[in-house]
C-alpha cells in the first residue's frame, strides 16, 4: 500500500500549548513542511524567541536554541558566520523582533547576514497577557492602551517589512497571512522561497512577515480574528512581496 500523506516529520507528534485559533500552529506546520520538502532537517538550527513561541523547540524536531528576548538575530549571526553550511532561522514575534530586538534585526539586515527570519505579527504581546506591541494598530485596545492606541502618546504601528526592504542587506521580504486557505498556501510558498535562498547561499537576509491571529488578546472569536486580519490589519500591513524575485 502506498503512503500518499504522512505526518510532518520535522514537527513532533504532540499537542501544543497555543490558544485555540492562534496562528503559531499553522506557521509551525508550514515551516516544518518546508524543512521536510527541502530535506534540510538534518542541518537546520532554529532559534526560539521569548514570547508565546518560546517552547517552539518542543514542537520542531530539529536542533534548537532558546535565546534572550530580541537577541535572535545576534545569536543567528554568531552561528551562521561560523557554520555557513547550516540552515539557520529565527522565529520571532512582534515584541521580540520589533521592540526589544529592533537594533538586532536592523543590524543583521544591515550586515547582510545570510539567515532566515520568520516574523509573526499579531499586533499584540500574547505571552505577557495583551500589551501594546510596536505593530498594534491605532485605536486598538490593549492592556497598556486601554483607551485605544493614540499616536500622540503611543506612536504609530511599525511596518517592519517596509523598513527592512529599504536596506541593501535584505534580499527577500514578503508579507503574507494565514487568514484563509489561499493565504496559507501563499505563506508556505514565501517560507519555502526564503529557505531556498539560504540553501543557495544568497548574500543577504530573507524575512517573511506573517500576519497572524491572536483571538485571546484581540478579544475575538477565532473566526472574527481571521476576519479582522483580512479587513483591518492588511490596511496597515499590505500583503505582498516587498523585495526579491
Amino acid at each position: 500500500m502506498e503512503t500518499v500523506f504522512a505526518r510532518t516529520e520535522s514537527l513532533k507528534d504532540c499537542p501544543t500549548h497555543y490558544c485555540p485559533g492562534c496562528g503559531h500552529g499553522i506557521v509551525h506546520r508550514l515551516i516544518a513542511e518546508v524543512i521536510d520538502e527541502l530535506d534540510i532537517a538534518g542541518r537546520t538550527i532554529g532559534i526560539a524567541p521569548v514570547g508565546c513561541a518560546v517552547l517552539a523547540y518542543n514542537y520542531f524536531d530539529i536542533d534548537m536554541v532558546e535565546v534572550a528576548h530580541g537577541r535572535a538575530p545576534a545569536v543567528a549571526t554568531g552561528m551562521k558566520r561560523l557554520h555557513p553550511e547550516n540552515i539557520i532561522f529565527s522565529y520571532q514575534g512582534d515584541g521580540d523582533l520589533a521592540s526589544i530586538g529592533a537594533a538586532e534585526i536592523l543590524h543583521a539586515v544591515h550586515r547582510a547576514e545570510r539567515f532566515t527570519v520568520i516574523f509573526i505579527n499579531n499586533a499584540v504581546y500574547g505571552m505577557t497577557q495583551g500589551q501594546m506591541a510596536p505593530t498594534t494598530l491605532l485605536n486598538q485596545v490593549t492592556a497598556t492602551t486601554p483607551r485605544g492606541r493614540n499616536h500622540d502618546t503611543d506612536g504609530y504601528p511599525m511596518q517592519v517589512s517596509e523598513i527592512l526592504a529599504v536596506l541593501p542587506g535584505s534580499i527577500f521580504i514578503e508579507r503574507c497571512s494565514v487568514y484563509n486557505p489561499a493565504q496559507v498556501v501563499k505563506t508556505r510558498k514565501a517560507i519555502k522561497h526564503a529557505f531556498e535562498l539560504q540553501i543557495a547561499d544568497a548574500k543577504g537576509l530573507s524575512l517573511v512577515e506573517v500576519l497572524s491571529p491572536c483571538p485571546t488578546y484581540w478579544r475575538m472569536s477565532p473566526k472574527q480574528a481571521m476576519q479582522w486580519i483580512e479587513t483591518e490589519m492588511v490596511r496597515v500591513f499590505p500583503l505582498g512581496r516587498l523585495k526579491g524575485e
Binding site: 536542533d63 537577541r71 545576534a74 554568531g78 558566520r81 561560523l82 537594533a103
Partner: protein, 354 residues
C-alpha cells in the same frame, strides 16, 4: 632561548586568545580596550576565523552565545559600561551552561565615568553580575605575561566546566607594554567532548540549548546542578600567590595591577624593617578563602588595597572571619595608588607612634 616580544596588555590578550584556538571574536568599540577589536579585525581573517564588529555590547554577547551554542570557542571584550550591558547575556550563558570568555578592561565609573583604570567592577564580576544564582570564574592577571597565560587558561576552564569565564583586566594593564613569551602556556586540560553542541541533527536526536525550565521542580534541579559545578570549581581551581607571609605582622591583599604596586611597597617596607608580606588572589572567584584564612591564624593585621572603594575587602573579611583586623586603602574614579601611598599606609599601621 625563548623569544619574547614587547607588546601591550590588550594585544597580548588578543593574540593569546587566537593561539588558544579562538574561533570567533565579536566586539564593540569602547576605550580603553579598542586595541583588541582592531587587532582581531586584522588577525582573525588572517587565520581564516570570524571577526564581527557588533552594533552594541548587547549584540556582542549574544553573538558569543550563538557561537558557544554551536560548540565554538568565542570571546568578547569590553570595558565596565559595556560589561554592564552584557550582564543579561552572561546570565543566559551561565543558565544554558555554555562556555565563553569575556574580558573586562575596567575603567572608572559609575555611569560613563572616565577612561582611567579601576577595579570597581569586582562586585559585578564575582557576584554574578546579572540575575540569578550563578557565578563566573574570574581571572585577574597582574602582568602582560599573565594576560597571555590566563587567557589560555580561561578557554580551557570555560570548556571544562561549561561556564562563562571573566578575565578582569584594567585600563592600565591594557595599555602597558612588557616583554611576553606568547608561546608559553599553562598545561592544557583534558576537555570533555561537546556532545551538547548544536549543529543540525543529521540523523541523531534533537539537541536543545535553553535556560527556561518551567516544569515543576526542574529549575530547582538545574540550580542544584549549577551549585554542584561551582563547588567543584572552588575545590579545584583556586589560584593565589603569596610572599613573605610566615613572619609578617602585616599582610597586604591585592590583585591585578594594584598587586604590582603593593609588591613594591612591601619590598620597601621590608627594607625599613617592617615585617610585611602580601597575598595576591589570581582567581577572584573562586576566591582563595583557605589561603587567607590560614594566614589569619597567626597574629597580624590585613590591609586590602584596591582601585575601588572597597569590594574585594569584603571577601577578605569573610575569609578572615573575625580572626584579625582587616583594613582597607583604595582610590577610585581612574586614580591609581602610588607605591608611596601604600607604603605610608603600611608605616602608619605598623611603626610605633613617636
Amino acid at each position: 632561548m625563548t623569544k619574547k616580544i614587547l607588546i601591550c596588555g590588550n594585544e597580548a590578550l588578543a593574540e593569546a586568545a587566537i593561539r588558544a584556538g579562538l574561533d570567533a571574536y565579536f566586539g564593540y568599540p569602547i576605550t580603553p580596550q579598542n586595541e583588541i577589536p582592531a587587532y582581531m579585525a586584522r588577525r582573525m581573517p588572517q587565520e581564516g576565523r570570524v571577526f564581527v564588529q557588533s552594533e552594541s555590547e548587547l549584540a556582542a554577547i549574544n553573538m558569543v552565545f550563538g557561537a558557544a551554542a554551536t560548540g565554538d570557542r568565542a570571546m568578547t571584550t569590553s570595558s565596565s559600561p559595556g560589561i554592564s550591558l552584557m550582564q543579561e547575556g552572561i546570565s543566559y550563558l551561565a543558565g544554558a551552561q555554555l562556555p565563553a570568555v569575556i574580558a573586562n578592561i575596567m575603567r572608572g565609573g559609575p555611569g560613563l565615568g572616565n577612561i582611567g583604570p579601576s577595579q570597581s567592577d569586582y562586585f559585578q564580576a564575582t557576584r554574578g553580575g546579572g540575575h540569578g544564582d550563578y557565578r563566573t570564574i574570574v581571572l585577574a592577571p597582574a602582568s602582560v605575561q599573565e594576560l597571555s597565560d590566563l587567557t589560555h587558561l580561561a578557554f580551557d576552564l570555560a570548556d571544562l566546566y561549561r561556564t562563562p569565564v571573566l578575565i578582569l583586566s584594567d585600563g592600565f594593564s591594557g595599555q602597558m607594554m612588557e616583554p611576553v613569551d606568547l608561546d608559553k602556556r599553562p598545561p592544557p586540560r583534558k576537555l570533555p567532548p561537546k556532545d551538547w553542541a548544536l549543529g543540525g541533527t543529521n540523523g541523531r536526536k534533537q539537541r536543545i540549548v535553553r535556560s527556561l525550565w518551567l516544569a515543576e521542580g526542574r529549575l530547582e534541579e538545574l540550580n542544584l546542578e549549577l551549585q554542584a559545578k561551582y563547588r567543584q570549581i572552588e575545590a579545584n581551581e583556586v589560584l593565589c600567590e603569596q610572599h613573605e607571609i610566615d613572619d609578617a605582622e602585616i599582610v597586604l591583599v591585592a590583585y591585578g595591577i594594584t598587586a604590582r604596586i603593593v609588591r613594591s611597597a612591601v619590598r620597601q617596607a621590608r627594607r625599613e624593617g617592617i615585617r610585611a608580606g602580601w597575598i595576591r588572589p589570581i582567581t577572584l572567584w573562586p576566591f582563595p578563602t583557605d589561603q587567607i584564612s590560614a594566614a589569619a591564624d597567626e597574629p597580624r593585621i590585613f590591609l586590602t588595597v584596591e582601585m575601588s572603594h572597597g569590594q574585594m575587602v569584603d571577601d577578605v573579611k569573610l575569609a578572615v572571619a573575625g580572626k584579625a583586623p582587616v583594613l582597607f586603602h583604595g582610590c577610585a574614579g581612574g586614580a591609581v595608588p602610588s607605591v608611596e601611598d601604600v607604603l605610608e599606609q603600611i608605616e602608619k599601621l605598623t611603626l610605633p607612634v613617636a
